[in-house]
């Protein structure tokens, strides 16, 4: 390997050529590295620093864990933002995984137009969330397409789904299960294609039908894929912002029913200009997400698609 060779040469002393190569290397990565240090690594420490101050428009006095104590007693955060985010995650993750897996299994068949179908199922994941959210608002409006269809099926629903407190979050869950299923499908597709063909041949020889083969052979063999998809989906769900912002409007309405953790952070930091408090929420959220990732790493080792 190149690195090993390099080390051996290094032992013989760095020639001019080696020095030049190293300097050019540093030169080529200088801008990106400066960028990552300034806009990624440094902000982690800076966020923690800011969270220890009563920092509104201007930097105020040092308050130690004051912001964290305030957050601990913040009922809007716990009863709405955290609760909604957890409910959202608990429902959207299994839904998008089930839908994504079903799509993956179907488009993994060797049949015609496979590429077209994959593309069709994947596209909602690629379209702008703002556009999808406004289309969904239109379809789920009080006199929208969805209520019209329900009406013809004999079920009368006259409210807009996003503006009713009881249906707003479930509607967002349904919407995002749909838009994220395409991405999940691609992950599962990669995992499915890593299963060797002879496994299916063996199942076929044993006379197992498609349904049985799926549950007894495919599903268990996808175990690493399940873990990976679950973790990525959970991390994504905990960070949900776009639909809450667009559909609930920045205030997370109606009556906080669509308030999520990130939207609350946005409201506190940008809306109310409480930078210290906003940074505190950011740090707590980071710890949340980091813990999820760490637990996954410890329990299941390296995440793998296949």
């Amino acid at each position: 390997m190149a690195v090993a060779v390099g080390k051996r040469r290094q032992a013989r002393g760095m020639t001019n050529e080696r020095l030049r190569e190293a300097l050019v290397g540093y030169g080529f990565i200088a801008l990106p590295m400066a960028f990552f240090l300034l806009f990624f690594i440094f902000p982690v420490g800076y966020a923690i620093y800011i969270s220890r101050y009563d920092w509104q428009i201007f930097k105020g006095p040092f308050v130690g864990w004051g912001n964290y104590r305030t957050l601990y007693h913040d009922s809007v955060f716990w009863h709405h933002a955290v609760r909604n985010t957890l409910v959202y995650t608990a429902f959207v993750v299994p839904l998008e995984m089930a839908l994504g897996l079903a799509l993956a299994v179907v488009v993994n068949q060797s049949i015609r137009f496979r590429t077209f179908f994959r593309a069709a199922f994947y596209f909602p994941s690629l379209a702008a969330s703002a556009a999808i959210a406004s289309i969904a608002t239109y379809i789920l409006a009080s006199d929208g397409l969805f209520n019209t269809i329900l009406h013809h099926l004999g079920y009368h629903h006259t409210n807009a789904w996003f503006s009713q407190q009881s249906t707003a979050l479930p509607s967002i869950i349904g919407l995002n299960a749909w838009t994220t299923s395409g991405t999940v499908m691609l992950f599962y597709l990669a995992a499915l294609q890593a299963i060797p063909v002879d496994v299916y041949e063996a199942a076929a020889i044993d006379g197992a039908g498609a349904w049985r083969t799926f549950w007894k052979v495919t599903f268990p063999l996808l175990k690493p894929g399940h873990f990976f998809v679950a973790v990525v989906s959970v991390i994504g769900a905990l960070q949900m912002f776009d639909q809450a912002f667009l559909i609930g409007t920045p205030s997370g309405g109606p009556n906080y029913s669509t308030m999520t953790m990130v939207l609350y952070l946005y409201n506190q930091a940008i809306g109310s200009i409480k930078f210290g408090y906003g940074a505190t929420i950011g740090v707590v959220l980071f710890v949340f997400i980091f813990t999820v990732t760490l637990i996954q790493r410890l329990l299941f080792g390296r995440p793998e698609v296949a």
């Binding site: 390997m1 080696r18 190569e21 050019v24 080529f28 801008l31 990106p32 590295m33 960028f35 990552f36 990624f40 690594i41 902000p43 982690v44 800076y46 966020a47 800011i50 959207v92 179907v106 993994n108 049949i111 593309a119 069709a120 199922f121 909602p124 994941s125 690629l126 379209a127 702008a128 703002a130 556009a131 406004s134 289309i135 379809i139 999940v184 691609l186 990669a190 499915l192 294609q193 060797p196 498609a210 083969t213 495919t218 990525v232 769900a237 960070q239 912002f241 776009d242 667009l246 946005y266 940008i270 906003g278 940074a279 950011g282 740090v283 980071f286 997400i289 980091f290 793998e304 698609v305």
Partner: protein, 323 residues
């Protein structure tokens, strides 16, 4: 891919394999294996699969088709009950979106921001990726792990620190570059904080690792320097990776809501998603122009997707499952 050489982000590697090596159909359970009596079952299964796929594809397409249909309606038409196609076809929705609600301006802004970020990612990530893949320098592996480590840092954690840096520090720094009275709570800020991403750098490095060394050796014998080797030998060979990075960055920044929502405050600099959000908050039921704006937001990505489908897969692992 050998596991020792690559960083512990297998999904990216897997996605890259999908992109760069094309689709493989191994393991597709629908194939016939020459077992007597299986053929009829397979045919039935295939027919069911077709039916399901077709149905789901239609279901997936309905929201998009419905928005296109509405974008060509009059406002009165949208209130007059269900009809599949517009009763009176009109482009007034688009006209209003463009002129009355400034979506022409927003489209331009989106193109500028997405274009600038894409270009800068291509340049910085290919240079850096080449260095990380090919040039030997002390601390290379550690620095690369640091780059990958940035993928673990969520945007929310960076929101407040970056906002404050853009307000308080950066304008003071760029004065030394001769840029006076700079402000970064605007389009420039959105571009500045996304000049390069770990994902682009990673994808470029992985691709450069797969290019055989012989060509570079030949260039070296011809007396070409490192930059010339990068520019004349490596870049021309890196087409697929450049395409993947370019498409990934363009699609992501074209659709992005988070940083623009934080940094864009002047209406003249709004991107399409921010324009849609604001329109949506202000005029909830003016459907035709809103749907026209949505079509406008979706169309470029759809076009790119139709033309360069396989490169999009790289974005999957990179961005994760975004709601």
């Amino acid at each position: 891919m050998s596991s020792g050489e690559h960083p512990p982000i297998a999904p990216l590697a897997a996605a890259e394999e999908l992109v760069l090596e094309g689709e493989t159909a191994k393991g597709a359970p629908g194939a016939t294996y020459g077992i007597p009596g299986r053929e009829r079952g397979d045919r039935i299964r295939t027919a069911i699969a077709y039916a399901v796929m077709f149905l789901v594809a239609v279901l997936f397409a309905i929201p998009f088709l419905w928005s296109v249909s509405t974008s060509f309606r009059t406002l009165a038409d949208t209130l007059a009950g269900f009809s599949l196609l517009p009763r009176h076809w009109t482009t007034s929705g688009y006209h209003e979106a463009f002129h009355t609600f400034s979506f022409g301006r927003y489209t331009l802004n989106s193109a500028i921001i997405a274009g600038a970020i894409t270009l800068s990612n291509l340049v910085l990530a290919s240079l850096g990726g080449y260095a990380f893949a090919r040039l030997r320098f002390p601390g290379r592996e550690a620095l690369f792990m640091l780059v990958l480590g940035t993928l673990m840092i969520p945007d929310q954690l960076r929101l407040v620190p970056i906002y404050l840096m853009l307000v308080n520090w950066i304008p003071g720094w760029v004065v030394h570059l001769g840029w006076h009275d700079a402000s970064f709570i605007n389009r420039d800020g959105v571009i500045l904080i996304q000049l390069v991403s770990a994902t682009s750098l990673f994808l470029m490095r992985q691709y450069f690792l797969t290019i055989p060394r012989d060509l570079e050796e030949a260039a070296k014998l011809d007396g070409a320097g490192y930059f010339k080797t990068y520019r004349k030998v490596m870049l021309p060979l890196a087409g697929p990776a450049l395409a993947a990075v370019g498409i990934l960055m363009f699609q992501g920044t074209w659709n992005a809501l988070f940083w623009p929502a934080i940094l864009l405050q002047d209406k003249n600099q709004f991107t399409i998603p921010i324009g849609i959000a604001n329109f949506h908050f202000a005029y909830t039921t003016l459907w035709p122009p809103l749907m026209a704006a949505s079509v406008l937001a979706i169309l470029p990505v759809l076009l790119l997707f139709v033309l360069f489908q396989r490169y999009f897969v790289a974005g999957v692992a990179a961005v994760g499952v975004k709601g």
